[in-house]
């Protein structure tokens, strides 16, 4: 029996803390001594070795509308209890509650330097927001799965509380956090790959060592019926910017995109434009930036009446080791702006 119990602080929303329903969803974070609601079941499973010393409670709407301030407050309320582990939820498939659990765990774990765990359903939007920063145990989609979720979370809290090292996600039963850990394998990559291939050919299950990212699919936009009156915009990931790169778009891992007007310009020349892309030989693009952003060709088609109008602004970023999350964000933002400007079609050029 451990001489000193490890200390746990638990986070719950207003509903599970039995304060109230939607009418109490605007309650700011508050703290209660000891275990509350599902925390009592959790406490039972932790037994004599761990103790839930306090429970932080916050209304779901309050948290969702003030994420940073609320998480900060949770840290402030938790800190005096000097916990060894922080646990939140489980929140199942509840969106606001899931975000509250994820954000609380992330803030407490990062500010107080202790491990944190929550429980979410696989499709809870908070999963992708926080999986890299905290341990998240898979649960059912509703509170009907509480009975199964509590023991799983208790096992986790227990291990973290005792300072035990956690193994791989599939061994310990949490959502992969996206970390890569070096390890020595007994057999070479070639042998392992052939084994996988044979399993695949036999139609048997196998586990990849390198899962590919999944990309969103969007339905194709309808064809442009009347090109001669359409407004067409140019967009590029090839880094063509006004000379001097005024917005300082990064040469790699771009954190932003920019829009520039080329109204009145018929041709991109090296005295006014350059590339700021760090992932290809810039010589050819700097000699003639039209080789990446074909303004001269687009202008001549506009003059010939092949298109109605070339949109005055072009959008640019650098596609060089850019994170998928950033690329999606840029794409969505650019698309919204172009739609708002009644642009009918876009030519996106990539190096």
């Amino acid at each position: 029996m451990a001489e000193k119990k490890y200390r746990v602080v638990h986070y719950l929303n207003q509903f599970f803390a039995q304060i109230g329903g939607e009418d109490k969803a605007n309650v700011p974070p508050l703290i209660q001594e000891g275990a509350v609601g599902p925390g009592r079941a959790l406490q039972q499973m932790l037994g004599e070795e761990g103790e839930i010393v306090a429970t932080v409670v916050c209304g779901d709407s309050y948290f969702a509308e003030n994420i940073e301030a609320a998480a900060e407050k949770v840290v402030e309320l938790t800190s005096p209890y000097r916990p060894d582990v922080f646990v939140a939820g489980p929140a199942f498939n509840a969106g606001r509650y899931g975000v509250a659990c994820g954000a609380s765990c992330a803030a407490v774990s990062e500010k107080l330097g202790i491990p944190a765990v929550t429980g979410l359903y696989q499709e809870n939007p908070a999963l992708d927001l926080y999986r890299k920063r905290v341990y998240i145990v898979p649960t059912a989609d509703s509170a009907r799965g509480m009975k199964e979720a509590i023991p799983k979370m208790a096992t986790f809290v227990h291990k973290l509380g005792l300072g035990q090292e956690l193994g791989l996600p599939q061994e310990e039963g949490y959502f992969p956090r996206g970390f890569r850990i070096n390890q020595f394998a007994e057999r070479s990559g070639a042998e392992r790959a052939v084994d996988m291939l044979l399993l695949k050919l036999r139609g048997e299950p196998f586990q990849t060592e390198y899962p590919m990212p999944t990309f969103e699919r969007v339905p194709p936009s309808p064809a442009i019926k009347d090109m001669v009156s359409a407004t067409i915009a140019l967009v590029t990931s090839g880094g063509i910017v006004p000379l001097g790169n005024p917005d300082r778009i990064e040469a790699a891992s771009a954190s932003k995109f920019a829009a520039y007007s080329f109204a009145g310009v018929d041709d991109l020349t090296p005295d006014a434009y350059q590339t700021c892309h760090g992932g290809y030989d810039p010589v050819y693009a700097n000699q003639d930036p039209d080789r990446v952003l074909p303004l001269d060709a687009a202008r001549s088609l506009e003059k010939d009446g092949a298109i109605g109008k070339l949109y005055d602004l072009y959008y640019v970023t650098v596609g060089n080791a850019t994170s998928i999350a950033n690329a999606q964000k840029f794409g969505q933002a650019i698309a919204e702006k172009l739609k708002a400007a009644n642009v009918d079609g876009v030519i996106l050029t990539s190096t």
Binding site: P220, I232, A285, R291, L348, T349, S350, T351
Partner: protein
């Protein structure tokens, strides 16, 4: 949207629905080895093809190689 892309497999992987293969990574819409007027002509052809892609109804990812 039409993606004029030097590396078509990447464009397919990330999910572009209309794709026009470009010339090369450092000069997708040009070829420095050609005389200037021929290079302009090449670029015009690629942009025209991009417009044709936008005018074409597609149900799945389509590469406009011609």
């Amino acid at each position: 949207m039409v993606h004029v892309a030097s590396i078509v497999p990447i464009s397919l992987t990330v999910g572009a629905n209309r794709i026009v293969p470009a010339v090369a990574i450092p000069h997708p819409l040009g070829n420095p080895e050609l005389p200037e007027d021929e290079e302009r002509e090449l670029r015009l052809r690629l942009v025209r093809r991009a417009l044709r892609a936008l005018e074409t109804e597609v149900e799945k990812q389509t590469v406009f190689a011609e």
